[in-house]
């Protein structure tokens, strides 16, 4: 089995069958990560280039581990966005990497659509590791994987995504993924963090956290980008926390066995109370573990699944 596509650019254009294939494949790769010798020869001789134009530890490490556990050679190419705006274009950088015969380019970039540009121009498979406010498909896939592990079924699952929906690629990819799989998705945050016509993505909008959390099975917190305070989106971190921080009391408004998720890195005490982040309902570290397996599955399935 394989994904019949060269690239993974987003969840929006994936079918339910493709999503299920990734999740099923990830299951067998998760077993590999549990072994004493955590390696299979699947991608031996292949080259994976992690091309990161934004600082990232978790996602880059996760992709690196995924590639290494598949026996691929991995190159990490970290470019600061500022050096790019000074000189070399994304296209030129990518052409150079192409010339080095990379098989996969894993791209993290601050601008929406950057992986789409590369995918069009390169023979290598392009995997989107987060592009601006657009998509972060492997994050949504690992969230789905984690949810399925804990909740079995997506159909009828009530889920709330809390935070800056407008600027979040994690929110977008998860909205696309979860609505496709039949879950009921709510988005919660101040109106300044809601993109125009967001209801048309098939979600229900709440400005009040307590109201939005009532009865949900899963609470997915987004990281607050602290630099957006002031005139940008909210007056102060203090007020934001008062209104939108997930506290133990608020978790009680959700269903009794509700899960708490967060794509990390977390701002303790800002969008999530420390006791919640560390509580039994938190699956934040499961998300990280599963990330490696899901990314192994994506690389494997894009390579033709041989």
């Amino acid at each position: 089995m394989s994904l019949k596509r060269k690239d993974l650019l987003g969840i929006q254009d994936l079918s339910v069958e493709e999503i299920n294939l990734v999740l099923a494949t990830a299951e067998s790769f998760k077993e590999v990560s549990g072994r004493d010798i955590k390696k299979v020869p699947t991608l031996r001789g292949k080259t994976v280039v992690n091309l990161f134009f934004e600082p990232s530890t978790r996602t880059r490490t996760s992709f690196e581990l995924a590639a290494k556990r598949l026996s691929a050679d991995v190159i990490n190419f970290a470019v600061s966005a500022s050096s790019v705006s000074k000189g070399e274009t994304l296209l030129d950088t990518a052409r150079n990497i192409e010339a080095m015969q990379a098989d996969f380019i894993v791209l993290r970039h601050p601008m929406a659509g950057s992986p789409n540009i590369l995918a069009k121009l390169l023979r290598a498979s392009v995997v989107n590791a987060g592009d601006g406010g657009h998509e972060h498909p492997t994050q949504a896939l690992l969230d789905l994987y984690t949810l399925r592990e804990k909740k079995r079924e997506f159909k009828g699952l009530r889920l709330a995504i809390v935070g800056d929906i407008a600027h979040s690629r994690v929110a977008r990819s998860n909205i696309y993924a979860l609505t496709k799989m039949g879950a009921e998705v709510r988005v919660i945050g101040p109106p300044t963090m809601m993109p125009l016509e967001v209801e048309r993505l098939g979600v229900k909008v709440f400005y009040d956290l307590d109201e939005g959390l009532r009865g949900v099975d899963v609470i997915m917190m987004l990281r607050l980008q602290l630099e957006r305070q002031g005139i940008a989106l909210f007056p102060s971190i203090r007020e934001y926390s008062k209104l939108y921080c997930l506290t133990p009391e608020r978790v009680k408004l959700a269903a009794p066995d509700a899960l708490v998720m967060h794509p990390g890195p977390i701002n303790r005490g800002v969008e999530i109370a420390p006791e919640v982040a560390d509580s039994v309902s938190s699956v934040i570290l499961d998300q990280v573990t599963n990330g490696v397996a899901v990314r192994m599955a994506v690389l494997y399935l894009l390579s033709g699944g041989k």
């Binding site: 929006q12 705006s85 274009t89 994304l90 296209l91 970039h109 601008m111 929406a112 659509g113 950057s114 789409n116 540009i117 592009d131 601006g132 406010g133 657009h134 998509e135 600027h167 690629r169 977008r172 993109p195 125009l196 016509e197 967001v198 048309r200 993505l201």
Partner: protein
């Protein structure tokens, strides 16, 4: 020097719409009528089956010279103009240096004269360096040959500066042209703020960023009695406000571009940088409003906002790619779609490309009246063609219309009685 254009359907809005010959003597229109006799030695152009129109007038082009000759020069821009049937173009001052003084205006006119193709009418800056602070010397600009003033692309944000510009320009009867955009509201935006931007995670430019500036400018036009021309209207709100202002007798004219009446925000999907322009492609509702505005005369003029960029500049991340598309060589075929759709009559389309823009800027152009400059565009209304940017005379290839099948093509263009295209 005589030229006679025989057997064409002459469409000169308000004057004639039917089979006739056009006689040109010494660069001006000598007669329009049937069965005209060709004087001895006259050049005869057979226009059987063709339409003979006043040369088109574009109030909004960017020819990039001086400063950005790698994008376009006055010569290549003028070649694109006449290939698209435009015999007169007004070029925006956002060059390097900015056209905010007599020397730059004269430089542009010299280059245009050397190219010897279209008539080029420079537009001077409203403020020095287009920085929005101090007024440029309108008197000098007018004397040097500027036909209007604008800080296009860098909207005048300070209401007092705009007020003074509208007032002061009255002394020279200069139209003040504004690109209506509140740059606080549009900051960081790269496409229309709406459903598609929400899906793609791109930063939006809300319709309100245009609407609030249209509202301000109309209020200032009313206050000052100045002559206001609004560039490239793109929103339903703008059209509604201009309609209301005209009904109340405010002195305002407005233009719309083909992309704003033919394309919506949907064209941006797949991160198509050739669908990135400012104002952005908007919603279906806005497109319908722009068409309604053209239909009822709220919008007087079809302009191109011809904005060439080098290929490498557009082959970029969507956010980093510059705004703008070329338009001179596709405008006629695209404008005719309005006639096909029944939004405008053919005569109205011609009018919006000729006499209406000429009147908006007070140019003695856009007509085939006896004694007028013999600027004539001959088109084949039936010719089908496919837009191929590689064939453009412009240096710019940046168009979202590549591959479009259009009906109606420019076959010949005359400026001052001289064939300049093909």
């Amino acid at each position: 020097m005589s030229v006679i254009i025989k057997n064409g359907r002459v469409i000169d809005p308000g004057r004639i719409n039917g089979l006739a010959d056009v006689l040109i003597e010494n660069g001006t229109i000598a007669a329009v009528g049937s069965g005209l006799k060709a004087p001895a030695g006259a050049t005869v152009i057979d226009a059987t089956g063709k339409w003979v129109l006043p040369g088109f007038v574009d109030l909004h082009v960017h020819f990039r010279e001086p400063g950005f000759e790698y994008k376009e020069t006055i010569a290549t821009g003028a070649a694109a103009a006449v290939a698209g049937g435009f015999t007169s173009v007004c070029c925006m001052p956002n060059t390097q240096p900015v056209n905010d003084n007599q020397s730059v205006t004269e430089f542009i006119l010299d280059k245009a004269k050397a190219a010897g193709l279209a008539n080029v009418f420079p537009i001077g800056a409203i403020t020095k360096g287009s920085e929005g602070k101090e007024l440029a010397e309108f008197g000098d600009l007018r004397a040097a040959g500027c036909v209007a003033v604008s800080d296009d692309g860098k909207p005048v944000m300070n209401g007092m500066v705009m007020r003074r510009a509208l007032e002061y320009a009255r002394a020279f009867d200069l139209p003040v042209v504004d690109h209506c955009e509140c740059t606080h509201l549009s900051e960081g935006g790269c496409m229309h703020e709406g459903q598609v931007a929400t899906e793609m995670g791109l930063h939006g430019i809300p319709s309100a960023s245009e609407d609030v500036m249209v509202a301000r400018n109309l209020a200032l036009a009313e206050l000052t009695g100045g002559r206001l021309h609004l560039a490239h209207l793109s929103t339903a709100g703008s059209v509604r406000m201009v309609r209301e202002a005209k009904a109340r007798g405010i002195r305002v004219t407005a233009e719309a571009c083909p992309h704003h009446f033919l394309l919506t925000e949907e064209a941006v999907r797949e991160f198509n940088t050739n669908a990135k322009m400012n104002p952005p492609l908007r919603s279906r509702k806005d497109v319908e409003a722009v068409k309604a505005g053209l239909k009822d005369g709220t919008i007087d003029v079809i302009a191109t906002d011809h904005a060439p960029h080098a290929a490498f500049e557009k082959e970029r991340e969507f956010d980093y790619a510059p705004f703008g598309i070329v338009g001179l060589e596709t405008a006629w075929g695209l404008a005719l779609v309005l006639a096909e759709e029944g939004v405008l009559t053919v005569e109205q389309v011609v009018s919006a490309l000729t006499i209406q823009p000429a009147r908006a800027f007070g140019l003695a152009k856009g007509t085939l009246a006896v004694g007028a400059d013999a600027d004539v565009t001959i088109v084949d209304p039936e010719a089908q063609w496919v837009v191929d940017p590689e064939q453009f005379k412009s240096k710019g290839r940046n168009t979202p219309f590549a591959g479009w099948k259009l009906k109606g093509r420019v076959v010949s263009t005359l400026v001052g009685g001289r064939v300049v295209y093909p």
